[in-house]
Symmetry: C3
Subunit: 241 residues, 3 copies
Amino acid sequence: MATYVLVHGAWHTGDLMAATAAPIRAAGHEVHTPTILGNGPGDDRRTGLSAAIKSIVDYIIGKNLKDIVLVGHSYGGMIITGVADRIGERVRRLVYWNAFVPNDGESLNAMVPPHYVDLFDQIAGASDDNSVVMPYPIWREAFMNDADAELAQSAYDQLNPHPYATFTDPIRLTTNPAEMQVGKSYINFTEDTALPQSLGWHPRLSEKLGLYRLVQAAGGHEVCFTDPEGLAKAIMTAGRD
Amino acid sequence: MATYVLVHGAWHTGDLMAATAAPIRAAGHEVHTPTILGNGPGDDRRTGLSAAIKSIVDYIIGKNLKDIVLVGHSYGGMIITGVADRIGERVRRLVYWNAFVPNDGESLNAMVPPHYVDLFDQIAGASDDNSVVMPYPIWREAFMNDADAELAQSAYDQLNPHPYATFTDPIRLTTNPAEMQVGKSYINFTEDTALPQSLGWHPRLSEKLGLYRLVQAAGGHEVCFTDPEGLAKAIMTAGRD
Amino acid sequence: MATYVLVHGAWHTGDLMAATAAPIRAAGHEVHTPTILGNGPGDDRRTGLSAAIKSIVDYIIGKNLKDIVLVGHSYGGMIITGVADRIGERVRRLVYWNAFVPNDGESLNAMVPPHYVDLFDQIAGASDDNSVVMPYPIWREAFMNDADAELAQSAYDQLNPHPYATFTDPIRLTTNPAEMQVGKSYINFTEDTALPQSLGWHPRLSEKLGLYRLVQAAGGHEVCFTDPEGLAKAIMTAGRD
């Protein structure tokens, strides 16, 4: 049995991974769902990318977790890449789930279409703490296209303002993902339009991993809400040896 | 419950949408399946694009339909775009189902690979009324790849010669689809090769909608024949709020 | 009922198609699973492409098979293209299953990304008979991504060293596939990463067929091991009239 650490995406918290963690635990695995610094209630929304990464490094070291399958969703791909670079000896396999795959020096925003960057710039600029909130129409149509209106709204109500510096800070890595000597998997949900599919997750970002295992299933960007059972299954297929 | 207007594709009539309309009605919705001018028995095959669009505008106004979910298949994407531009106040959401998405000044042929345009030019030129018929081998292999031979033939036998001017006329729009202030969805059947997938429906044409909701399912271009139940389900997922 | 000839891919033998042949036979068809010259036990690993093609031509003529549905997997696409060019009058339909589609003068290696060619060059150069073996990590992650570790290993144990000249020899054809006057189908398993999907099987290679029928299903490159029933179903959908 394996130890899974599920790292959520932007605007989320670890608690929102509970429905996904349950079937993985039921299959006999140990599952952790930490909240990244900057997304917790009361966290400083001026948190930057290196502090966000460090919070998950500290979580793993604090619990002395070893041989872990480290799963990252969306923005969480930035985090797990940084964690693997810092404490790779504790990582058995990296699993990117519709996630950003950065090389040294890249920010999340460098992988996002310009119209999203412009939108985020405006929203963060209008906030008093450099945070971004997701506009509901984008959330409903592009992130939760596979949900009904009620689920899209109830999920939206659980989001939190995201520390924008984690999108604009370049990541610092000693080793790029393609050269990392761990197992690597990419889970692609085929209706995910959080990035436009012409400039999408897979194969554009997945192939930055070098040799990796592809897992695909039907669903949008937020299967943690729309299909946590299907997501759990995909994670276990991606995470097994 | 919503009011759906299903606008068929080239060579089709509204009657061919009956099997798709039935499960949508069974779910409690009102469904209309008009035939576009130029495709009805006895219609003039020299009908142009603006007259074709006007025929659906007239249908909607004549029945005083409001707050409609307007669905267009293939060539029907030209029609629903034109209808939304003319009577947008009656449209709640546009649903493109493997459909053309034109901007002002574009014709359907402008979105089709050159070898199809050449073929259509030859067929229309050889007709006595500027109409095009679909050659059976293309229909069977590229449009009905998910059917057996019997279904491919029986569907083919129900097609009618299509008024070619509706492919060559540029559309006139005051507002392009990306700027239209209505809900927009795109349904992509993943085995559709009516357009070569290297120059395909999605994301090439879908992303001309700006913010939109993607729905995908398995099937070819003619799921109205091969899987009307699956199509109805996709339409309702695309059409809900 | 039809006569199917299933032509395996590199590193495989005809015996490895047995689980796929069984459900096709159960549906009433005749199925042959020859081994290509160069892949049989004791075959010379210096076999070139034209001798490999000739071995299947000889098999078909030797058994006097006519009106056949000729299916090729991966490297097997080189073989069935050559067979159709030589004895096309015996072929009813060509079915490419995640297979190479060569034009006259092209080698398999010409359709493969440079990093694979470099790897194969090194492996063949280090062998004493110009043969290539598949490195297990690539097999496990990129070819058998949809398998568990046990199945990936047991399948790997059945592979044989492949004659590398069949990858480097250009094929000689009098007619390119797009111009061949037979039915043509392409089966694409959507999680196949044996070729990187940015430079993948479909539509890059499938569209070299000209008019063809697309069939897709979920699975990786080695569904003959991971889902022989699903593969058999796809072959029959691709192979019917």
